[in-house]
Symmetry: C2
Subunit: 222 residues, 2 copies
C-alpha cells in the first residue's frame, strides 16, 4: 500500500528520464478522417493525449508503470511491480497559469475518506507550448498534492467555483515564485484545508470524520 510521503521510486525514474530528454520532447497530433489528414492546432485534447502517450513511453522504457483497467477513474497509472504507487498525469499550457483540475472536490473528499492512501499519489505535471501544430514540452514537475495546492481568500483550499458551487480542486501557483497564497508544505495542512473547506461550504464533516478514522485504522501518521 501507498503509505509514503516520498515520491514512488518508479515515478521518480520516469520523471528523471523525461527531464533528461526534455529537449527532444516535441511532436504533434495528426487526425485523419475520410482520407483528409489535419495537423491539429487546437489545445482541447492535448492533456488526454499526453496522458495516453506517457503509458506507451513508460512501457518502452521498461518502467513498472501500468494502466488501470478503467481509464475514467483514479488513478491514471499504477507505479511499481506491486501497483503500490499512484501516479496522476496533469498538463497545462505553459503560456498560462496551471488551470487543470486536480480532482473533483466532492469526489476527492469522499474518496480520501474511503482510501486515505490516495493522499500520497504522485503528480507528474507537464507544461507545453503549441505553436500552430508543433507541440513542445516546456517543463516537467513531480509533486505531491499538498505541493501544488494552496489556499485562497475565500476558502482554506483553492477551488473552482461555478454559480456558487465548488466543482474542482484547482492548483495554486506551484510553477512560479509569485505566490499570493503559499502552497501547503505537508499533507496534514492540506487535508485540514480540504475538510475545513468542506465544513465551511456545506456544514458537514462526514467525510472528515471517516478520513480520520481510516488514518487510525491503517496507522497512517500525517
Amino acid at each position: 500500500m501507498i503509505t509514503s510521503q516520498a515520491y514512488h521510486p518508479e515515478s521518480q525514474k520516469a520523471y528523471k528520464l523525461l527531464v533528461q530528454n526534455i529537449t527532444s520532447l516535441s511532436g504533434g497530433t495528426i487526425f485523419n478522417l475520410g482520407g483528409h489528414s489535419i495537423q491539429v492546432e487546437k489545445k482541447d485534447g492535448i492533456g488526454g493525449l499526453i496522458e495516453e502517450w506517457f503509458g506507451f513511453w513508460a512501457q518502452k522504457q521498461n518502467l513498472n508503470i501500468f494502466n488501470p483497467n478503467s481509464s475514467q477513474e483514479f488513478p491514471d497509472y499504477f507505479a511499481g511491480k506491486l501497483n503500490d504507487g499512484y501516479l496522476e498525469i496533469k498538463t497545462f499550457n505553459h503560456d498560462a497559469s496551471p488551470a487543470f483540475d486536480v480532482a473533483n472536490f466532492d469526489g476527492y473528499c469522499r474518496s480520501l475518506s474511503e482510501n486515505p492512501f490516495r493522499l500520497f499519489a504522485d503528480y507528474l505535471i507537464f507544461s507545453y507550448e503549441l505553436d500552430k501544430s508543433v507541440l513542445k514540452i516546456q517543463k516537467i514537475w513531480l509533486k505531491k498534492i499538498w505541493e501544488i495546492c494552496s489556499g485562497t481568500g475565500l476558502y482554506p483550499l483553492k477551488t473552482q467555483i461555478k454559480q456558487g458551487v465548488i466543482v474542482n480542486i484547482r492548483p495554486g501557483s506551484f510553477h512560479s515564485d509569485r505566490n499570493q497564497f503559499p502552497l501547503f508544505t505537508n499533507p496534514r495542512d492540506f487535508t485540514n484545508a480540504l475538510y475545513e473547506t468542506e465544513y465551511q461550504y456545506n456544514n458537514k464533516t462526514n467525510f472528515k470524520n471517516d478520513f480520520e478514522k481510516k488514518l487510525q485504522e491503517h496507522k497512517i501518521l500525517i
Copy 2:
C-alpha cells in the same frame, strides 16, 4: 442575419456531401512526442478533433463555411458567404446515448436574450465508433436545437444537473425511436421550456423578458 427556421443551404450542402461519403469516413489519430508515436485509443478528445477536421474538410470542398476568430465561443462555424448562418458541431459515441453538451444552461438563457438568432443555429451531429484506434463515423444528423432537445420528469427542459445545479442543456433521444420524453417540434415550444425551466429553477424571468423584447425588436416570429 439568421432568421430562418430552415437549415442554412450551406449546412445542408455539407451534410449531404458527408452522408453521401459516409462509408469512407474512417480514420484515426496519431500522436507523436519525442519520436514515440501512438495510435490513440481513448475517446476523450475525439469531439474536438472531428470539429477541427470539419473546418479543413469544408474548405477542401469549397463550401462557404468559416472559422470564427475565437474557437472557444459560439458558434463553431459560420455558414454562408455573408456569415449568415451558425453551425455547431456535436459528436457522440454511437454505442451510447448522445451525452454531449448542447450548451451551458445559464449561458444559453443569457445569450439567446442578447442574440435571439442563435436559436436558429444548425447542429451537425456525428456519431462514431472507436475500435481500438480505428475511428468510424456511423451516422450524421442535421438538426435544429428544438429537434434534439426534450423535456424530462424534473424540469420542462432536459438538462445535466450536478449537486442540484443545472449545468448544461443535454440532448433528448433524437437518435432513437424510443423517446420517453418527446422532442420539441418547434422553436417556441423549446424556448418556453427553456425559460420555464429557468423560472422553476431560480425564480427569475429576466432573460425570458429580454428574449421576448428582442424577438419583437427584430420582428422574429416563432
